[in-house]
């Protein structure tokens, strides 16, 4: 059965696309600003077939994949250590609190100086951008493990490793998972925005390049492509999360 929410969402989405299509075709919106959705799709089909496109996609996606992995694994490890060692946490807390107030992209030139011109500075930038969300979520999850569950662990005389594996991590899992979702999104943003500003290749750069050359069809085609990738990825994570929630009997 289709829910009311799904119907409303679909109507709004289809309506917006249709309105844009009409506005573009009738000339109410100039093609120099926005092109019709149908034209975007057509341009996307052409772009997908162009020779250099695969290389850009591969470069962007592999950078995202590396940054995402580093951010999730590293963020979890750091969050875990900071949770466990209170004085380290007190030392670093101000940084964590102020972290997302820093304009990370301003450091990109510095990273290039340090890491050279290859994909490394971009990956480092995206990793730094995504990792702190994972750190904060991991700490929040571990902080909120109910004390009575830890007492229960002691009643069952669990070893420290068992307590962590059997009690703390599963209890913290919902928070950790939401940190993971943020880390995924921030990795995409970090890489594509970085390419946009300073790179000489990758999807982000291609969008900027098309923009500079008034190549609207290609620009919108690429934006559409990015949207498609990110949405697909989000759906995958979302489906996985739902499955976990259902295993806890919490899905609707």
């Amino acid at each position: 059965m289709i829910s009311k929410a799904t119907i409303i969402r679909t109507v709004v989405l289809v309506g917006a696309v249709a309105a844009l299509e009409v506005a573009c075709r009738t000339g109410a919106i100039q093609p120099a600003l926005v092109i019709a959705p149908s034209a975007m799709v057509k341009a996307l089909a052409e772009t997908l077939q162009s020779d250099d496109f695969g290389g850009h996609v591969q470069q962007t996606l592999s950078a995202v994949a590396i940054a995402m992995t580093l951010a999730i694994v590293g963020g979890f490890a750091i969050g875990f250590v900071l949770h466990w060692i209170p004085f380290l946490r007190r030392a670093f807390n101000p940084f964590l609190a102020a972290y997302y107030a820093i304009p990370h992209f301003a450091f990109y030139p510095l990273l290039i100086v340090i890491f050279g011109l290859g994909p490394a500075p971009l990956i480092v930038l995206a990793t730094l951008f995504a990792m702190v969300a994972m750190i904060v979520a991991t700490m929040a999850g571990l902080d909120r493990v109910p004390r009575v569950l830890l007492k229960t662990a002691r009643i069952h005389r669990l070893s420290l490793m068992q307590e962590i594996w059997r009690i703390r991590l599963p209890a913290a899992a919902p928070h950790i998972l939401s940190g993971l979702k943020l880390a995924v999104a921030y990795s995409f943003i970090g890489v594509i925005a970085g390419e946009f500003i300073l790179s000489t290749s990758g999807i982000g750069h291609e969008i900027a390049y098309a923009y500079d050359n008034f190549d609207n069809p290609r620009m919108y085609a690429l934006i559409l492509f990015v949207l498609g990738i990110v949405t697909t990825f989000n759906m995958l994570v979302w489906t996985w999360e739902r499955r976990l929630a259902r295993r806890r009997g919490m899905a609707s």
Partner: protein
């Protein structure tokens, strides 16, 4: 048919099953207030195989008493013994605890919750299954075996926790207001079940409750605690037969015991109400 729970005839092996001797518990100062003298000095001999309840105004240190007795908290002074051995910062084998707060694991189904301790102890699958089946049935959770705690009411989750404790066949069972989330009728029935369990297993039971008639109905002895710092004002023996159930409440002498408990507690509860005790703390989740 023989009972499906192995009985633990502690009464034949020990006279005093657990002993608190001059125990106090003082919580160190925290932000907002100074140190809290929660308990004692208090002494108690828990007789092997008896059913003892503890009543007292909220915040008087009942949960703290349970933590100390179970080896979950170290007393600030005094000693704790279980089966003749000192309890020192570790929960001894043979002690089962049901906490006041919901301690079910939300990521495990009811049956996996109940089997948790057995699997950790390396019990073989057949015996695990047998004990889980029994405990799940005993607690009336048969239809909810595959449900998750989030799908159950608070009272049912508490029953999951009781079942998880039962399967380990503890010789000393400590229960901290386990029926707090239940309505009065279910409470009475659960009380009968608890009595049946106690009779069949021969275990020693210490029950913390705030319901005076419940304490009266279930117990051989009732420890009445004073407002914080908690000490026993008196330990009232009921003299009820071992083979009792909730129909006991119809006896003419039943009301007299409840009245006696209340006469002790009226003043203490007033003290706790007006008193200097910091709000919440132990009661908060």
């Amino acid at each position: 048919m023989a009972t499906r729970l192995a009985s633990v005839p502690v009464a034949e092996t020990y006279k005093v099953h657990a002993r608190l001797d001059g125990v106090t518990r003082i919580y160190p100062p925290r932000a907002g207030h100074g140190e809290v003298h929660a308990l004692g000095p208090l002494s108690l001999d828990l007789r092997a195989g008896e059913f003892l309840s503890v009543v007292g105004p909220s915040g008087c240190g009942k949960s703290t008493l349970l933590d100390v007795l179970a080896g979950l908290a170290v007393p600030s002074a005094g000693t704790v013994e279980f089966e003749g051995k000192r309890v020192l910062g570790e929960v001894p084998d043979g002690v089962g605890v049901v906490f006041q707060e919901d301690a079910s694991f939300p990521w495990l189904s009811v049956e996996d919750n109940v089997a948790f301790g057995l699997r950790r102890a390396g019990m073989d699958a057949a015996e695990t299954r047998r004990r889980v089946d029994f405990a799940v049935g005993f607690m009336g959770l048969k239809d909810f075996r595959r449900a998750y705690p989030s799908q159950l009411s608070g009272g049912m989750r508490q029953r999951v926790c009781i079942a998880r404790t039962l399967v380990l066949q503890p010789r000393l069972i400590l229960l901290d207001e386990p029926f707090g989330a239940l309505d009065q009728q279910t409470r009475l029935l659960m009380g009968d079940e608890l009595l049946r369990l106690w009779r069949e297993t021969g275990a020693t039971v210490l029950l913390i409750t705030h319901a005076l008639d419940e304490a009266n109905l279930l117990s051989d002895r009732i420890g009445v605690m004073a407002a914080r710092p908690g000490r026993f004002i008196d330990i009232v023996g009921t003299g009820w037969p071992r083979d009792r159930d909730s129909r006991l409440a119809e006896r003419p002498d039943f009301g007299a015991v409840t009245a006696r408990l209340w006469s002790y507690l009226r003043g203490e509860s007033l003290k706790a109400l007006q008193g200097s005790s910091p709000p919440l703390g132990g009661e908060a989740r």
